[in-house]
Symmetry: D2
Subunit: 471 residues, 4 copies
């Protein structure tokens, strides 16, 4: 699957979060900006930054809106965001028709002052919690769960000693997947759901601490990766340093890290829960090579996510790795889509085959997933037009069969090719000479010893899914 297909046919991660606290008092808005920039692949529809100055009055300044990080922020707006503590957010999904109301961070005034909240995830009991809250008079201005979380923190804060206590009590009510960073006027707090479905890690540079969805955001700002936040852990960064409450941390075997972070969502230069994403994709390629060997001349990957798995397949099979595609660097959001009737196709405009490389060759083409099948079919057609004599498709994930309730926007079943077709049928539909999907029981070897959630392939969810959200 190509990253650029996100806007057309692919899977969508909901969000990326980032937090920063500079003890030396320097402004953090630009670090948050670069951090979000590195997390842009996790959400392209809205973004925002909220900051506060820990040495001044308890006031949070925020700027957010629809668009990419470099659409929403300019040198001038970054300059205006004064403060040495703050959080940022990139989001895939905005409630359409409600303007920019639901861009995050959510900035609230509440009983103890003010808070900014950046949230990535999905609460399976979100609708229930919302109902409960509305029954006691709450109002909601957006569709996402961030307000639900804010209300819980606000209500728990009344009887809690401090914000982190309120966050903890709120977590006891929240079921689902989440990574949350909270900026209170004097604290930066980070938490992950006890299953560890969503990633969050800690970094440090000079006098500043950082929290980020992925470690690549730490690299981008020259910060050192310290460690992952543990699933269920509550990290509080105050002027006294880092404190940690691990009372809600579950045993390792119950954890359920999202396998799709490794397969597709995360950047290959990130390390999540001690597993290097690039390495995981290499292992996936190797596993595919073992499961589905085929005689061929060349292994190629579909940019961007298929590249590493293709490299792995090549290493596993001994068949040479090749670069078969040129991806247009200027393809972006505002690209005018070709009409059906035109000679041009979106795939051709984004990707071109290096015919020199594939001409006369039997090609193994590795991609991370097949959603609708149309993009894949087009690419195979292009390879063959360029002279590839055979195209064997290897997919570094098992077929999608079940919905994700944890914040991944999988298209509905009718659209998923694997839902209504056998592997043989798909192979024929996409025009491949052979097709191999990652075997379910090989997934483990692609991520070392971590415990993961593979419910989208198996239907086995790590927690009970309430009836009211099962369609």
């Amino acid at each position: 699957m190509q990253k650029d297909n996100r806007f057309e046919s692919g899977l969508h991660e909901e969000c990326g979060v980032f937090g920063a606290y500079d003890f030396s008092g320097q402004d953090v808005a630009s670090s948050i900006y670069y951090g979000l920039f590195a997390l842009q692949h996790r959400g392209q529809q809205t973004c925002g930054i909220a900051v506060t100055d820990t040495s001044a009055k308890m006031k949070i300044t925020a700027k957010k809106g629809p668009g990419l990080v470099n659409d929403v922020f300019s040198e001038e707006t970054i300059e205006e965001l004064k403060g040495n503590l703050g959080v940022g957010h990139v989001q895939y999904s905005a409630d359409k028709g409600k303007g920019s109301v639901s861009a995050q961070p959510l900035v609230i005034n509440y009983v103890k002052g003010t808070l900014a909240i950046s949230y990535n995830g999905s609460l399976v009991n979100g609708a229930d919690l919302k109902d409960e809250l509305t029954r006691t008079g709450a109002i909601f201005q957006s569709e996402n769960d961030s307000e639900v979380i804010a209300y819980h923190i606000a209500r728990e804060r009344i009887n809690s000693k401090n914000v982190q206590g309120a966050v903890k009590n709120a977590m006891k009510k929240m079921q689902g997947a989440y990574a949350i960073v909270v900026a209170s006027p004097r604290k930066l707090i980070g938490v992950r759901d006890p299953y560890g479905l969503k990633p969050l890690c800690i970094g440090k540079a000079d006098d500043a601490y950082f929290l980020a969805s992925e470690s690549c955001a730490l690299s981008a700002i020259g910060a050192e990766f310290i460690r992952d936040v543990e699933p269920g852990e509550i990290v509080s960064i105050t002027k006294d340093g880092i404190a940690s409450d691990k009372s809600m941390v579950m045993e390792k075997e119950k954890r359920a890290h999202c396998i799709f972070e490794y397969i597709y969502f995360a950047r290959p230069d990130s390390v999540i829960d001690n597993m290097n994403v690039y390495h995981s994709r290499i292992l996936a390629g190797k596993a595919l090579a073992k499961s589905y060997p085929v005689e061929a001349d060349l292994v190629v990957g579909v940019p961007d996510s298929g590249i590493a798995a293709a490299k792995g397949y090549a290493e596993g099979s001994g068949i040479p790795y090749g670069i078969a595609f040129h991806k247009n660097s200027y393809v972006g959001r505002t690209f005018i889509k070709p009409k059906q009737s035109q000679r041009e196709s979106s795939v051709k405009i984004k990707l071109n085959v290096l015919s020199e490389v594939v001409k006369g060759k039997r090609v193994i083409m590795v991609d991370d997933s097949i959603v609708r099948g149309t993009t894949c079919a087009n690419i195979i057609k292009m390879l063959k037009a360029a002279g590839a004599t055979e195209v064997h498709v290897r997919v570094s994930s098992p077929p999608f069969l079940y919905p994700c309730y944890f914040g991944t926007d999988v298209p509905s079943n009718e659209v998923l090719i694997a839902h209504s077709h056998s592997q043989e049928e798909i192979c024929e539909m996409i025009g491949a000479d052979s097709l191999g999907y990652m075997e379910l029981d090989k997934l483990q070897e692609t991520v070392g010893d971590i415990c993961y959630c593979d419910a989208c392939f198996t239907g086995k969810y790590p927690m009970a899914i309430p009836e009211n959200i099962i369609e």
Copy 2:
């Protein structure tokens, strides 16, 4: 005072509201757009429209943002706002640094579904109500009172038979000035505070009903003016027609309509509480003519609000009315302000004197108010440079001396020229040959028999002002 000075030195009205319900099912977004266009003088910083389709699922679609009505809306965005019931809003003041979050209408999900609220006013007990709400776990995403009102409606709705009942119970807690229009999925509701500080009226055209801050918005859309909403009245427009709850209506003598709507805020082509605004200004001019007669050749008004009062002075005094100024039609928001050091001045760029008219004449110049005095001084200088031999200034309002707690953004006392200077001093400072302010006891005759609030001149507020908001 010139309308265009609003952005520099003047008084600011906070908002204008508009509501529409078309029983025949036609979209109302364009009517709301034109209605807001006619109310643009009441607020230029943000605007918004929220609509719902009474024949469909209970869903509200909204679009709002910073800017003038024709900046925020395009033909395309109006087209997307499908629905035959809706509310709109123009607002002077956005909370800066919080993005566009606080543009109205406020759209909420609450215990009984969804609501859109447009609100013009200021609650004197707003801060207290907010404190009370936060103590029970409420969160606030903006600085204005609209969320306070929304919470009260939401909480009251739990034990009320219907929305209008909840609105009524909410009104019992709210003290201050307000005009509110509420769109629920099947109802359009309009209310005014019991003192009638803020205006609101009802119109009709074909199968549609409208609510508007001023009747000029009804004219703009070709609707007939039906009547004012009574102070304290709750008007509910449903598919069964208009219903009215007048149980909170006070006796007429206790009402306190804002006198400044007549003097300056409202458009001259509006009728508010049965008093024609233009006529009121004519009467003001006549009263000035009686109080401060002077021998002169010409009466001129400072555009735009001074024009009608000048006409009145001319009629009252028998001295000919003249057109002394050309106002540049292209002066707008983005106008680059001249620097102190330049030959150019903002006043000169906006206004030019028709020297032909004033040359060799003794001129009576009528304006609606004097805030800082600098604009007035500049205009007098221009008149004299153009050959006016005398300039007698007549102001159609008494001097500002007290803060307004009801939503009018009066500059702080230090800036108000009348606060620290006598009438004689002001006359000298602005370079006038004589100066006359409207006499307090003549105000009544400018507005017929209506009861009005003149606290900004007298300090006598129609209701108790809580200590915590008195600076």
Copy 3:
């Protein structure tokens, strides 16, 4: 005719020009900006500024584009336009479909360096000159005559002593209406066509000289009006002061100043060729009062241009002058036009009747012209709906019957109501109780002793019109 109707149905002036030279070395871009701001009514489609620093290398810096002056220029872009000599331009008509290529000033490199040219007018032999030029290899990048003029100056420069000499020789070939300001790296030059069809005047402030289409632009920047450039005169402003070449100046009786500048185009606060525009409109109103007396209660003017003539009619007739209309100050370019099917109409959104003023009254309504008749009909309908018992229309210009070849964009004959209907028919079509157009032989008394062009009413053009441009 309303100014805001320009975009719909009215007459269009093509351009306004401005020039500035500050001997003290100060930047002139901001003065040009404010000057163009004051001339904005002469053209709203493109604008531009070009400046040069007389103490530096011969380099002209320019910024131009589509839109109003405050759309195209920001504080930042004005800041970037460094230089103490420059010219500016506002233009009605852009060649559509050619991008912003034809915005002026036209900046050229030519045999002797570089020039910036701002031009207002129309050459009746423009097409012929263009043909001649192309026959010798010239290329044209826009549709307007500015390149024709530039080529002539460039070619004449080869054998001329200086720029003003080249301009003079170019003028000998150019037939038509024009006012041109030219910035060469060390000189500011201004010329008018020998008939004086287009206005141009000279101003001064401190160490700076200015050239402007109308004197109102001088007032806006605090400059003193010195005098008009004489028709046919070539004014050269260099560091040594103003020099003048009057060898092409014609006798006064042959001049043909455009009568429509006085009736409609120019701002009332301008003085053109020693005639005050406001005063001319007053005289026009008086002439109408004499020609078409009628018993009535009130004289009202249609904003903006009808106002002064209405005042004149009132003075002439002794019938009181009244203010019958409120014009919405926020109507601008991006205003969404109501559809035919809507309750709203463009006229209602722009103008509202003050019913208080006209109710029960016999009204004389004065406007400057009737083009299509639809706007006029709508306004009359509004007046009657507001209670006017009679509406007598008086038009301060004779009926349009002939095309203008000098740069005024009159709609084609089919559209002009006066072209195909008698005065009686028009009166009935617009729903007026009586109708009177300015009498041709009264025009002279509205402009004193100046010689004017009234070809649009009479078909008598001051110069021969080539066959090839008569449609």
Copy 4:
């Protein structure tokens, strides 16, 4: 060298050109749009499209402006560009301070009607030709040579039978590098300079012919590559098909194709003058492997242009190819540059090292060129920080030592690291363990038997360079 460094430190190609003629009458604007999209790497500062309808009046419609293709064009503007024949352009360099005047295509009216010209290149005698033209009265509105070319075509057209004849006569006067496509109302013409310095090729799809700077633009629109335009050839596409005038074609041995197209400018999926760009880079990598062998564990390429050469080095040396970098896909024009004082660096934000891949490895890093050396030094530092034990740099071009006069924007000598430092010094300055530049005498083997221009390395220009342009 990274493509994204173009905006900071790299070399700049001036332009890309595209032409289309659809005999079936279909609009070509969208094909031109996608073609330019594929050529965007050749110029990011302005772009434009001009079209004409061969069955209608001789009228060219154009739209152009500053920005990337998908900034300047929207679905709506493409829709407005009606016509089945047209040309497009992407340009690196706009004359600053002259607005958007100089975006191409240049659209002109001239003696025989109208023309649109897209031009890529640089005329070494451009200044002389311009002088000559101005001496006979020509005016220039931009700094680039497109007007010079237009004038020559226009002047030659007077005595030529047809446009292609005029183009031919113009070519006789033009010395330098160029690829030009011209749209006349009934013809599409394409020419290349006789040395073939700039590329141009012909494609076909259905009933349409295309001309493009690179074949990748043909692929993007689903067109078949037909052949290169020969150096000196004039291709005329009319309704009667393709005609060719080869009278100015030089013998093959005199040709001088720009070697930098292969090394860096062109997309790897293009074929230029029968040489596949990707393959050429593979050969370059192999040549480097032979010239500069070194013991190492891994060969990596700097994205994007270093990738193919790295693959070649790996193939040549037998050392495994690895993927060492993740490039952020969202880096674009509006990216806020980090300040010196910040932890962040531009390089880190764009590129991150996959430490998993390089940890403990001796790495050979291949890049296409070293300009200033700073980016290279930063990348080496990142590799070492990620655990690379050695970093051996191989550069697929010889050191830059001489200016390019043919339209490549090489930074001035002072900035070029190779200009003032020996290879050993550079190696130390960038912190590499060894450094090898492509050997001059190996260049030939990277491009097969084509004759190329390598003046930037050798100072041997294929034609005489006039004194007046040598700085």
